[in-house]
C-alpha cells in the first residue's frame, strides 16, 4: 500500500519552486505548470477520498523532533473534513488559476504571480492535511505570508503594500493567541496530535482559555470581528487572489480550525457560545457595512466576512455539519462572485459601482453567472447557499438560540439586499458613465460557467433530496436531520424581501428613496459608511501608541541606557582628569618641588663652581682668614 496523500501539497509546492527559480525563462508556461500541479493535486485528492472510503486513513511520514523523552512525528490526517477541504481547495483553486491566465495576461510579473498562487495553494493543502497542531500552525503562517505576498503583489502602489502588511500583522495578532493556546494544550497533554488531543482532558478552566485562544487565531484568519479589518483592504491584490483568499484558502482556514478542534469547543460550552456570538455579531456587522459601500470588491469582501460569521455562528451553536456545509457552498459561490467582479473590472477598469450600470447587455456570460452567484448567496432555493444557510438557521432553532436565529434572519435580509443592490447597480438600469465594456476571453468565462454550475447544484448534496448525504458523511454520528419547512419558507421569503427592497430602491426609485432615507438616518448612515470607524479607533488606540512607545523606547535607550554608559565613560574621564591634575600638580608637584629646592640649592652652589683656580685660591685664602679670625676671637 502506497501512501500518497502527503504528495498533494507537494505538487503545487514544486510548481512554486520551478516558477520562482525559472519564471523569467518560462514566461507564460509558468501558468501551465501551476495549473497542472493544481490539477494533479485535485486528482490525488479524489484518490485520497476514494482511499478513505475504502478504509485507508491517516499516517505519519516524518520525524521532526526527537530527543530524550520527546518525539514529534508529522503526518497527514485523513477524515471526512480534510477530504472535503482538499477537494474544495484544489477544485476551486484550479479554476481560479485558469481564470488568472486571462486576468493577468499582460502583467510583467506573470510567472511570479503563479508561483505565489501555487505556494498559497500548497500551504492551504498542508494546513488541511496536518495531523497535529504544530504542523497546522506552520502551514497556517505559510498561508498568512502568501496572502501578504499576493495582496501586496502590485507593490508599487502604496495602498497595496500597506494592505499586505495590515493583513499579515492583523492575522498575526490572532496567531499569537493560537500559539499560546497550543502551548497551553501541549503543556497540559504533552502532545500536538489531533487524535491524541481528542481524548485528552485536563483543567476545565485552562482548556476553556485554550479554546478561546485557539479561536482568536480563527478570528484573525477568518476576519471575524474585531480582527476583520484586514480583509476589505486585501482587495488591493489582483482579483483572482481575492477569489482564492475568500473562497478556498486563507479565510476558510479559520473555520476549518474551529472544525478541526471542535471537540475542544463542544466540551467547553462557554467557548462554544463565544464562537456563536462572535460569528453572529460579525455576520450582522459586516452585512450592514456591505449595504452602503460603493466598491464592488469591498462589498464582496464584507459579504465574505458576514458569511464567515454565519459559519462561525453555525459551528458555535453546535452545528458542526451546518457550519462546514456552508463553508463548502460558500467557497463555490464566493469564488464565482469574485471572478465575476474581476471580469467586470477587467471590462470597465473601475471598481466604483456608482459609475457602472446596464452592463448586462455587454457582459452576457459574466452577468448571468453573477446573477446565479447572487441568488446563491442570497439564499434562494434551489441554489447552493439556500441549503446551507437553511441548515444554520434550523440549527439555531433546534439548539434553542432565538436571538441568534433573529440575527441570522436579519443578516439574510441584508445579504439579499446588498447583493441585489450590487446586481441592479452594475448590471441593470442605465449606464451612469461612459464605459467601453467588452466580454472577457473564454479562458475567463469558462471557469465562471463551471463555478456557476456548482453554485446551482452543490447545495443539493446536503439537501433533503439527497438525504443530507454531505452531513452524514462529514459528521456521521449527528442527530438525524429533518427538513424544517417553516425555516425554509421564512428564509426564502426574507431573501425575496431583500431583493424586493433593493429592486424598489435601485430600479424603481433609483434616486429618491435612498436619498430621503439617507437624510433621515444620516448620522447612522455615516457611521456605517465609515465602517463604524473601526480602523480609526485601532489607529488611535493601538497603532499610534505602539509607534509612540517605540520612539520612547528608542529615546530611552539612547538617552538613559546609553547615556548611562557614556555618562560612566565621561565620569571616568573626569575622574581621571582630576587625578591627572592631582598627579600633575600635587604628587608630581611635591616631586618637582623637591627637585626645585635641590635645583635652587645646586644652582646657587654652582655659582661657586667657576673653574677658575684664582677664585678657588681666593676662597681658600678667605676661609683660612676666617678660621684664623675665629681662632683668635675664640681664644679671647
Amino acid at each position: 500500500m502506497v501512501n500518497y496523500a502527503h504528495l498533494i501539497p507537494i505538487f503545487p509546492f514544486l510548481a512554486f519552486t520551478v516558477n520562482i527559480l525559472f519564471g523569467r525563462k518560462l514566461k507564460k508556461l509558468s501558468a501551465l505548470i501551476s495549473i497542472l500541479a493544481s490539477a494533479c493535486a485535485f486528482l490525488f485528492s479524489l484518490l485520497t477520498l476514494l482511499g478513505y472510503l475504502n478504509g485507508r486513513g491517516s499516517y505519519t511520514f516524518l520525524n521532526w523532533f526527537q530527543w530524550k523523552g520527546f518525539s514529534l512525528d508529522f503526518g497527514v490526517l485523513i477524515d471526512p473534513l480534510s477530504c472535503t477541504m482538499l477537494l474544495v481547495v484544489t477544485f476551486v483553486g484550479t479554476l481560479i488559476q485558469i481564470y488568472s491566465i486571462g486576468y493577468m495576461h499582460d502583467d510583467p510579473r506573470f510567472s511570479r504571480f503563479f508561483a505565489y498562487i501555487s505556494l498559497f495553494t500548497a500551504s492551504m493543502l498542508g494546513l488541511v492535511l496536518a495531523d497535529n497542531l504544530l504542523l497546522l500552525f506552520i502551514f497556517w503562517e505559510g498561508v498568512g505570508v502568501c496572502s501578504y505576498l499576493l495582496i501586496s503583489f502590485w507593490f508599487e502602489r502604496e495602498s497595496a503594500a500597506n494592505a499586505g502588511m495590515k493583513a499579515f500583522i492583523t492575522t498575526r495578532i490572532g496567531d499569537i493567541g493560537l500559539l499560546i493556546g497550543i502551548l497551553i494544550l501541549f503543556s497540559a497533554t504533552h502532545t500536538f496530535n489531533f487524535s491524541a488531543l481528542q481524548g485528552a482532558s485536563g483543567n476545565y478552566t485552562l482548556f476553556t482559555i485554550a479554546a478561546f485562544l485557539i479561536f482568536s487565531g480563527a478570528v484573525g484568519k477568518s476576519a471575524q470581528f474585531p480582527l476583520h479589518v484586514w480583509l476589505p483592504d486585501a482587495m488591493e491584490g489582483p482579483t483572482p487572489v481575492s477569489a482564492l483568499i475568500h473562497a478556498a484558502t486563507m479565510v476558510a482556514a479559520g473555520v476549518y480550525l474551529v472544525g478541526r478542534t471542535f471537540w475542544l469547543f463542544s466540551s467547553h460550552p462557554l467557548a462554544l457560545n463565544w464562537v456563536a456570538y462572535i460569528g453572529a455579531i460579525t455576520a450582522l456587522f459586516a452585512a450592514s457595512i456591505a449595504t452602503v459601500n460603493n466598491d464592488i470588491k469591498r462589498i464582496l469582501a464584507y459579504s465574505t466576512i458576514s458569511q464567515l460569521g454565519f459559519m462561525m455562528m453555525g459551528l458555535g451553536m453546535g452545528g458542526y455539519s451546518a457550519g462546514i456545509f456552508h463553508l463548502v457552498t460558500h467557497a463555490f459561490f464566493k469564488a464565482l462572485l469574485f471572478l465575476c467582479a474581476g471580469s467586470v473590472i477587467h471590462a470597465v477598469h473601475t471598481q466604483d459601482i456608482q459609475k457602472m450600470g446596464g452592463l448586462f447587455s455587454k457582459l452576457k456570460v459574466t452577468g448571468a453567472t453573477f446573477i446565479i452567484a447572487s441568488l446563491a448567496i442570497a439564499g434562494i432555493p434551489p441554489f447552493a447557499g439556500f441549503w446551507s444557510k437553511d441548515e444554520i438557521l434550523s440549527e439555531a432553532l433546534r439548539a434553542g438560540h432565538p436571538v441568534l436565529f433573529s440575527i441570522g434572519i436579519v443578516t439574510s435580509l441584508l445579504t439579499a439586499f446588498y447583493m441585489f443592490r450590487l446586481i441592479f447597480l452594475v448590471l441593470l438600469g442605465k449606464a451612469r458613465s461612459k464605459l467601453s465594456a467588452h466580454e472577457s476571453p473564454r479562458v475567463m468565462t469558462i471557469p465562471l460557467s463551471i463555478l456557476a454550475l456548482c453554485a446551482i447544484t452543490i447545495g443539493l448534496i446536503g439537501s433533503p433530496f439527497m438525504h443530507y448525504a454531505f452531513q452524514n458523511f462529514i459528521h456521521p454520528e449527528v442527530e438525524s436531520l429533518k427538513p424544517d419547512y417553516l425555516v425554509m419558507l421564512v428564509s426564502t421569503l426574507v431573501a425575496l424581501l431583500g431583493i424586493g427592497i433593493a429592486y424598489s430602491f435601485y430600479i424603481l426609485n433609483n434616486k429618491i428613496l435612498p436619498v430621503a432615507l439617507r437624510a433621515k438616518f444620516a448620522p447612522f448612515y455615516r457611521v456605517v459608511y465609515n465602517k463604524y470607524y473601526v480602523d480609526e479607533i485601532y489607529d488611535a488606540v493601538f497603532i499610534k501608541p505602539c509607534i509612540a512607545l517605540a520612539k520612547l523606547s528608542s529615546k530611552f535607550d539612547s538617552g538613559i541606557i546609553d547615556g548611562a554608559v557614556n555618562g560612566t565613560a565621561r565620569v571616568t574621564v573626569l575622574v581621571s582628569r582630576v587625578k591627572s591634575w592631582f598627579d600633575l600638580r600635587i604628587i608630581d608637584g611635591v616631586v618637582n618641588l623637591t627637585a626645585k629646592i635641590v635645583n635652587v640649592f645646586s644652582r646657587s652652589l654652582r655659582l661657586a663652581q667657576t673653574g677658575r683656580v684664582q677664585s678657588y685660591l681666593l676662597v681658600g685664602f678667605l676661609g683660612l682668614v676666617i678660621i684664623i679670625l675665629i681662632k683668635f676671637m675664640g681664644g679671647i
Binding site: I20, E156, M165
Partner: protein, 492 residues
C-alpha cells in the same frame, strides 16, 4: 586521536595570519588568496568534524590535552561536544563567507586580513577550549583584532564605536577573569579544567556559587548582550564594515550564550537555578524592549542590530527554563540567529555598497529593480520574524515551548513580542522594497555573482533547518539531555 584536527583548525588561521604578514602589502591578490585558503581549510576541516562527529557519544570528542604551564596546572585542552559543534561550524562557515565578502575592502588590505584571521583564531578557540585559562585567552584574543577592524575600516564614528566595544567587553571580561580565578582557588585540587569543575565533587556552597555566577554573568551578559548591557552593540554594528558586522552578530554574540552553556550552568548548577527567574525576566525585556527600539530605528543596520538583541532574548529564555526543550531551542536559536543575521548584514551591505546610505527612508520600490535581492531580503526577513518553514521559527518555538511550563506569564509576554517583530520587519521591507521607486536609484543593479554565492549557502541552511530541524538538532540533543539531566532540570 592521533590527528589533532582542532589544533589544525586553529593553526590554519594563525599560520594564515603570519603568512599574510610576510606578503608585501602591494600584492593584494595574494593576501586575499591566502586568507581565503586559510578560512577555506577551516571550513573544510569543520565539515570533516561534523561528518566524523559521533552522535551517540555525549563525552567530549576530538579532545587534545597537553600540559602547558604545569606549575599552576594549566593545560592546552581542546575538545567539542554537541553544544559546541554547531557553533564551530557556524563560525567557520561565516568566517569563510565573510572573508569572501571582505574582497571589497580596499584600504590597508594586509592589516585587514591579518586582523581578520586573528579574529577567527580567537572565535574558534573560544568554542573549543576546555581549560578556563585557555578559554580566557581566546576570549580576549577576539577583542584586539575586533577593535582595530572597527576602528580602522569602520564608518564615520568608528573610533567611538571601537573604543566603546573594547572597553565595554573588557570591563565584562575582567569580572569573568575574577570568576575564573575564584573557581581555580576554590577547586580541590586547583584546576582550570571545565570538565573537572563541573563534576559534582567540586560543588561549591550556594553563596560562593552566586558570587562567581554574577562575575561570569557580567562577562557573558555584555557579549550576549543582555539588557541593560547592550548599547555597545548598535554602535559597533553600525560602524563596523559589513563582513565584520556579520561576524559580530553571527559569532561574537554567541560567545556569551555559549559561556552560559559551557561554564555558568554546568559548573554553578545551584546558582543557575537561583538565577533562572531573573534571567527569564531579562530575557523578556530583551525580546520586547529591543523590538520596540528596533521599530523606531531609521538606520537599516541599527534596526538589524536591535533585532539581534531581541532575538538573543529567546536564547536566554530557553536557557532560563532549564528544560531539555528550552535548552535545545536556545542553542538552536544561537545557530539560526548566526545564519539569519549574518545574512541580513550581508544584505544591508549589498545595498550600502550601491547607495552609500543606510537610511531606510532613502530607499523605496527597489523590489522592481532588484528582484533577486528582493527575494533574498524577503526570505531572511521572514526567517527573522519567525515564519514557520524557515529556521528562526523552530528555535524560537522550542524556547517558548520549553519555557512555558516554567514561566507562564513571561512566555506569554515573549510571544506577544512576535507581533512587534513582524511589525518592524515588514515595515522595513515596505520601506526598502515596496512602494514607488525612488528616482535616485533607477540605475541600481541587482546582486552580482559573488554576493549571490555568499548568500546561497545561508539560504539553503535557513530552509533546511526550517523544514527539517533534526539536521541540526540531532547533533546537539544528546549533549543537552545530559546537561539538563545533570542540572536537575525538567526532562521534556
Amino acid at each position: 586521536m592521533n590527528f589533532p584536527i582542532l589544533t589544525y583548525i586553529i593553526a590554519s588561521t594563525v599560520l594564515g595570519a603570519l603568512v599574510v604578514l610576510c606578503i608585501p602589502k602591494k600584492n593584494v591578490f595574494l593576501i586575499k588568496t591566502v586568507a581565503t585558503i586559510s578560512t577555506g581549510i577551516v571550513l573544510l576541516l569543520s565539515i570533516f568534524l561534523v561528518a566524523k562527529f559521533n552522535l551517540a557519544n555525549t563525552d567530549m570528542q576530538f579532545q587534545e590535552k597537553i600540559i602547558w604551564i604545569p606549575q599552576i596546572n594549566i593545560w592546552y585542552h581542546l575538545g567539542l561536544d554537541g553544544i559546541s559543534i554547531g557553533l564551530i561550524f557556524l563560525t567557520s562557515l561565516l568566517g569563510f563567507l565573510a572573508c569572501i565578502a571582505s574582497y571589497r575592502i580596499n584600504t590597508r588590505e594586509k592589516e585587514y586580513f591579518f586582523f581578520y584571521l586573528l579574529l577567527n583564531t580567537g572565535m574558534l578557540g573560544t568554542f573549543m577550549a576546555l581549560d578556563l585559562f585557555l578559554f580566557y585567552i581566546f576570549w580576549e584574543i577576539v577583542l584586539v583584532p575586533m577593535y582595530f577592524l572597527i576602528a580602522i575600516w569602520g564608518g564615520p564614528r568608528k573610533e567611538y564605536a571601537a573604543i566603546k566595544f573594547f572597553l565595554y567587553t573588557l570591563a565584562g571580561s575582567v569580572f569573568m577573569l575574577l570568576g575564573i580565578i575564584a573557581l581555580y582557588f576554590t577547586s580541590n585540587p586547583h584546576t582550570f579544567n571545565m570538565l573537572e569543575l563541573a563534576k559534582p565533587t567540586q560543588a561549591l556552597a550556594l553563596g560562593l556559587q552566586i558570587v562567581i555566577f554574577i562575575a561570569f554573568f557580567l562577562g557573558f551578559a555584555v557579549k550576549v548582550p543582555l539588557f541593560p548591557f547592550h548599547t555597545w552593540l548598535p554602535d559597533a554594528h553600525v560602524e563596523a564594515p559589513t563582513p565584520i558586522s556579520v561576524l559580530l552578530a553571527g559569532v561574537l554574540l554567541k560567545m556569551g550564550g555559549y559561556g552560559f552553556f559551557r561554564i555558568s550552568f554546568p559548573i554553578l548548577k545551584e546558582a543557575a537555578h537561583y538565577f533562572a527567574l531573573p534571567l527569564a525576566i531579562l530575557a523578556v525585556i530583551n525580546i520586547i524592549y529591543a523590538a520596540f527600539v528596533a521599530m523606531a530605528q531609521r538606520d537599516f543596520k541599527k534596526m538589524v542590530a536591535y533585532s539581534s538583541v531581541s532575538h538573543m532574548g529567546f536564547v536566554i529564555l530557553g536557557l532560563a527554563s532549564m528544560t531539555i526543550t528550552g535548552f535545545n531551542g536556545a542553542l538552536l536559536e544561537m545557530f539560526n540567529h548566526g545564519i539569519i543575521t549574518g545574512a541580513m548584514f550581508l544584505l544591508v551591505g549589498v545595498l550600502y555598497e550601491r547607495t552609500h546610505t543606510r537610511e531606510l527612508d532613502a530607499f523605496g520600490g527597489l523590489g522592481a529593480k532588484m528582484p533577486v535581492y528582493a527575494g533574498f531580503l524577503t526570505i531572511f526577513t521572514l526567517a527573522s520574524l519567525g515564519l514557520p518553514g524557515l529556521s528562526g521559527f523552530v528555535s524560537e518555538f522550542l524556547s517558548l515551548l520549553g519555557a512555558y511550563p516554567v514561566f507562564k506569564l513571561i512566555t506569554i509576554i515573549s510571544v506577544l513580542g512576535m507581533v512587534i517583530t513582524a511589525g518592524y520587519f515588514l515595515y522595513m521591507l515596505q520601506r526598502v522594497l515596496l512602494g514607488k521607486l525612488n528616482e535616485k536609484w533607477v540605475n541600481i543593479i541587482d546582486m552580482n555573482k559573488v554576493e549571490l554565492l555568499t548568500l546561497l549557502p545561508l539560504t539553503l541552511i535557513v530552509i533546511a533547518v526550517g523544514v527539517y530541524p533534526l539536521v541540526v538538532l540531532k547533533y546537539q540533543s544528546s549533549s543537552i539531555s545530559l546537561l539538563v539531566g545533570k542540572l536537575g532540570g525538567f526532562l521534556f
